[in-house]
């Protein structure tokens, strides 16, 4: 696959093209989203200008509030941390052509499971308890979205719809337990589970004001990228994602792939929930349902479902979020401004898909078509 070079220099009067076919596609895969982002930013600039504000000031504030200082950058990384994992919850099933939008459910249940399991290991060293909490989060999330995959495979229930319904149910369950059977009586006006002891809390990366969840998220994205591009498992998934029927004919275990990918997706979101509890909140409560699962959808699509590309996109959205409050305070724009910007970026990235294969047209249509 990577050995294809331009086969037709002999018959062309011009010199060898600068790029081979693979290079051309790689460059395009990089250029198209970049152009789309810039176009989206420009379009949003027009929107801001039409509302009588200065786009230049806006983007300057985004830079300062999200990226320009060490504080801003750490703010951005902290906000990106849960999004890396919840975006994986969308991007993994997407390899099989599935659209899972209920990562929020796996996130809150992962957090709840961690808050329940942690105190059970009060006798053990904190690191073991953290490990068990992580396992609990992985399992709770994995089972929840795995169930979505199972319903898809065994009953033919559409995963988009079922994952959405399951997210509502998961949030209701979390609220029920946190405010009922699992409520810590001392939590008073913010009903929560019993707070985790200090040695069960996930701390910050040394030298930074960013918790370890960011590191975990980056590693998870890199690992997912590796599995998808370098293993037979990932290869099988891409075949099945291209055409499930053909994959089944070739003897690929489509059902097992669906179960594995949805469970892994849910596990990622569940782990994010566990980290939210262990690193940020210290207990499970209604604040878990803050929409991280839904923002993950946006990031996965912005990254065109590529796990590696999730990293810059999560940082971009995290940075815009981080700057959002600053913009609210400085420019007197409503907080929804950030939502408009996200929507416009999302639309422009999607529309840019239509350029793929057309931005840098292949010099040899046959080679392009065959690869």
């Amino acid at each position: 696959m990577s050995e294809i070079t331009d086969p037709a220099p002999l018959f062309r009067p011009r010199a060898r093209p600068l790029l081979g076919e693979v290079g051309r596609r790689r460059l395009e895969g990089f250029l198209i989203p970049l152009i789309a982002l810039l176009a989206g930013l420009a379009l949003f600039g027009v929107f801001i200008a039409a509302n009588g504000k200065s786009p230049a000031e806006f983007y300057q504030l985004v830079y300062r509030g999200g990226f320009g200082t060490w504080f801003s950058l750490q703010n951005t990384m902290t906000r990106a941390a849960p999004l890396l994992l919840t975006a994986l919850c969308v991007a993994l099933p997407a390899q099989l052509g599935l659209v899972v939008i209920g990562g929020e459910g796996a996130f809150v249940l992962g957090g709840l499971a961690a808050a329940v399991v942690g105190p059970l290991f009060g006798f053990a060293p904190g690191s073991l308890a953290i490990l068990m909490m992580a396992l609990a989060g992985l399992c709770a999330g994995g089972l929840w979205i795995g169930l979505v995959g199972a319903m898809r495979h065994y009953r033919g229930i559409n995963e988009t719809i079922s994952s959405l319904l399951m997210a509502y149910i998961a949030i209701a369950l979390m609220n029920h337990f946190v405010e009922g059977p699992l409520k810590d009586p001392a939590s008073l006006n913010k009903p929560s589970t019993v707070p985790l002891p200090d040695d069960m809390r996930v701390g910050e990366i040394p030298g930074m004001d960013v918790h370890w969840g960011f590191f975990v998220g980056i590693v998870a994205c890199l690992a997912a990228g590796f599995v998808l591009s370098r293993t037979t498992f990932g290869f099988a998934a891409r075949i099945a994602g291209g055409n499930a029927r053909a994959a089944a004919v070739q003897g690929l275990p489509v059902g097992r792939l669906i179960l594995a990918f949805t469970a892994a997706a849910g596990a990622a979101a569940g782990l994010a929930g566990m980290i939210q509890v262990a690193a940020v909140q210290g207990s499970a409560n209604a604040s878990l349902a803050a929409g991280y699962g839904y923002t993950g959808i946006l990031i996965a699509f912005l990254a065109r479902q590529n796990p590696i590309a999730i990293i810059p996109m999560a940082l971009l959205i995290g940075g815009i979020d981080a700057a959002g409050g600053f913009i609210q305070r400085r420019m007197d724009l409503p907080d929804a401004t950030v939502l408009v910007l996200q929507g416009i970026l999302f639309v422009s990235i999607l529309v840019s898909e239509t350029l793929s294969g057309r931005l840098l047209p292949s010099r040899n249509a046959k080679a392009g078509g065959a690869s």
Binding site: I161, S162, L165, I169, A172, L173, Q342, V347, V351
Partner: protein
């Protein structure tokens, strides 16, 4: 005054809830039903509904006429539908993804422009009293319905007729079932889909206006609790049959009224679980009626979500 109905209060409350809460579900699901029949799915109707709620409230406030607000909401919804349709007509652009993007954009724009509309009070849509025959005040109040609900019922019946009996319905179904066959017959695929998606947007806009101008009748950023998204699920639940959409919307609305009604007669614990009843019910019915072997009955075969 009101007499004590005891446990009878629950069915009456559920009936009232059905009639009050179901209208947005009905409108969005009917619109989406048409869109999906043409082979496209628009998950962005949630954003359209929120924008419609804002536009409807603003229109009513500025003109003093709530029906002008409804119209404005419908127009705004149509524009969102057209945007979705136009974007999805570009090659390689995924309709589900565009839907999610428009959900964010629609809500964002609605909140952005809706800030100054939170405070003012706009004129509300009037209700129709269908319960004059009863001397039970609770029943009379439950039967106080919006004209929009009745219009929705008429649209449901009309759509059923269009799908089954008219040439337009035939073309719509053909475009949704097999683009190749439709192309071979010389039907304009993209214009049909654009029209169908625009209609879906129009209906979602009206659904939003119902929320802000009738029930609960207020504009704020929390006005929708996912009605637009759930309604998309209800279409699948209703197997692309407009009358079944009506039934699904009524069941969902009634199930939503169950939580408060049970608390009002003293069933007070576990209310989060009662509030989740509509979602559990929808999932359970989907589960019971699905099968991995046969395609969903009535499903448009071009629809990405059922492929």
């Amino acid at each position: 005054m009101n007499e004590d109905l005891g446990l009878w209060a629950v069915p009456i409350a559920v009936l009232g809830g059905m009639l009050r809460v179901s209208t947005p579900f009905l409108f969005v699901s009917l619109g989406e039903c048409v869109t999906e029949k043409s082979g496209r799915i628009n998950l962005g109707l949630e954003g359209t509904l929120v924008f419609g709620a804002m536009a409807g409230y603003g229109g009513s406030y500025l003109t003093g006429n709530p029906w002008a607000g409804v119209l404005l909401a419908g127009i705004a919804g149509t524009l969102f539908g057209l945007l979705h349709a136009a974007l999805c007509s570009l090659p390689r652009v995924n309709d589900i993804a565009v839907g999610i993007a428009l959900m964010i954009l629609g809500s964002g724009l609605a909140f952005f422009f809706g800030k100054p509309l939170i405070q003012p009070a706009a004129p509300m849509l009037p209700g129709l009293s269908l319960g004059g025959w009863s001397d039970v005040p609770q029943l009379r109040s439950a039967l106080e319905v919006s004209p929009l609900l009745l219009i929705g019922v008429v649209i449901a019946v009309f759509l059923l007729f269009v799908f089954k009996r008219t040439r337009i319905g035939l073309i719509l179904r053909m475009v949704g079932d097999s683009a190749d066959a439709a192309r071979a017959m010389g039907y304009p695929i993209i214009p049909v889909r654009i029209t169908a998606t625009a209609f879906g947007g129009f209906m979602a806009g009206i659904a939003g206006a119902y929320l802000s101008l009738y029930y609960p009748g207020s504009w704020n950023e929390n006005i929708s609790s996912g009605q637009g998204l759930i309604a998309v699920a209800l279409v699948i639940f209703a197997r692309w049959n407009p009358l079944a959409c009506l039934g699904a919307a009524l069941i969902f609305g009634g199930a939503g009224a169950l939580g408060p009604a049970l608390q009002s007669v003293g069933v007070t614990s576990g209310y989060y679980l009662f509030y989740a009843a509509p979602y559990i019910l929808t999932l359970a019915i989907l589960f019971a009626t699905s099968s991995p072997r046969r395609a969903l009955e009535g499903a448009p075969r071009e629809l990405s979500i059922t492929k």
